[in-house]
């Protein structure tokens, strides 16, 4: 069965919003390798609307940027009930309906694993529905104080630690699976 693998940059106090504003000083080969390892196992990217819109405003217009081949070339599934079309970014398909119902069928179908990046709202609902097979948290040694958090209430989600690694920058790469 295909696995859903979520990867997030997160602060020590649990803030996962806008990592582009705080994670760069810590980005090194180790972080790059951790992110690449997730992408290499996947052949599909799952995205929430906001994250997709943010990426769609950049990647299709910057085909020579580093990583553009992967970002533009990888098939993308966009979870949204408000978007009419996802034509603005090549290789995007709209996944309509309740992802909690549609994703199990997709997981049972053919293909490699499915990665989710960013997409906090979507990741939260999938965590609650126990559809996330691996949650990769790159815990940065900073506290941000404010910003959207990985998890925002609702029932507690118990997890199982699969591995924990330190990077030379002080970032922790912790991987959790369902309890």
């Amino acid at each position: 069965m295909r696995k859903i693998i979520a990867g997030l940059f997160i602060s020590l106090d649990g803030v996962a919003e806008a990592p582009e504003t705080w994670h760069f000083p810590y980005f090194n080969d180790e972080t790059g390798a951790a992110v690449n390892a997730i992408w290499e196992r996947s052949d599909t990217m799952l995205l929430g609307r906001k994250t997709w819109e943010g990426f769609a405003a950049f990647w299709p217009h910057n085909p020579d940027a580093e990583g553009a081949d992967v970002m533009n070339g990888t098939p993308k599934l966009v979870v949204s009930n408000t978007l009419d079309t996802v034509d603005a970014w090549q290789n995007s398909t709209l996944l309509e309906g309740d992802p909690v119902k549609t994703l199990p069928e997709i997981k049972a179908g053919p293909g490699k694993d499915i990665s989710i990046g960013g997409s906090l709202t979507l990741t939260r609902s999938l965590l609650q529905a126990e559809l996330v097979d691996e949650l990769h948290l790159l815990i940065h040694p900073i506290a941000l104080g404010s910003g959207a958090r990985l998890f925002d209430g609702g029932e507690h989600v118990p997890l199982k630690l699969l591995s924990s690694t330190t990077f030379s920058t002080g970032v922790l790469h912790t991987v959790y699976g369902p309890a």
């Binding site: 997160i10 602060s11 020590l12 106090d13 649990g14 803030v15 000083p25 810590y26 965590l127 948290l137 815990i139 040694p141 900073i142 506290a143 941000l144 104080g145 958090r149 990985l150 998890f151 925002d152 209430g153 609702g154 507690h156 989600v157 118990p158 997890l159 199982k160 630690l161 699969l162 591995s163 924990s164 690694t165 330190t166 990077f167 030379s168 920058t169 002080g170 970032v171 922790l172 912790t174 959790y176 309890a179």
Partner: protein, 206 residues
Amino acid sequence: MRKIIARLCMSADGIVDRPELWLREPGAVMDQLVTGAEAVLLGRNTFEQYAASVAGHHEPVVPLDRVRKLVVSSRPVIARPNTEVLQGDLRRVLRALKQVPGQDLHVIGSVALVRSLLRWRLIDEVSLLIHPVLVGQGRPLFEDRRTLRLISMCAGSSGVVEASYRVIYAATATPSMSADSAGRWGGTWRSDRVAINARTAISTHA
């Protein structure tokens, strides 16, 4: 100079409030946090929770009974063996205590107290026992932006990651990526490589 080290249980999503509501074994909170410290500092709420849990016992029943306890409280607290209430200006008292040679002081639980001590720049290190659970709600430990430096990471078969950090108080803190950090810690713990053995933690310390 002695250090003041805060030890706290934390969820994987950064919540430190009320671990008794989300830990698999709520009764074990204190036991995890007391680790051979000679003396611990406690806020009033945490002390009262401990006192209630051992009410009626005069002999030591839990690890915290045997440890010297300094309680921060402006009013009297329930009498327990090995307990003193810290009197006077807390900032001055703690600064003075740090100057006295001896083992480091641990503040355990006591989230409100730790927040005050962070504001006063009295916390040198934070040791977080990161539990495998997402909780979502609770006040954050750090009230504003802070940079920290990872000192060590240790994980065990219970799924708890113990991560210790030095708190950085510089006015213009920049992330520490100095070469002397490389190689001091760098370890991996993986559940699939571990035999069923309680003492399988890989611990690397600066």
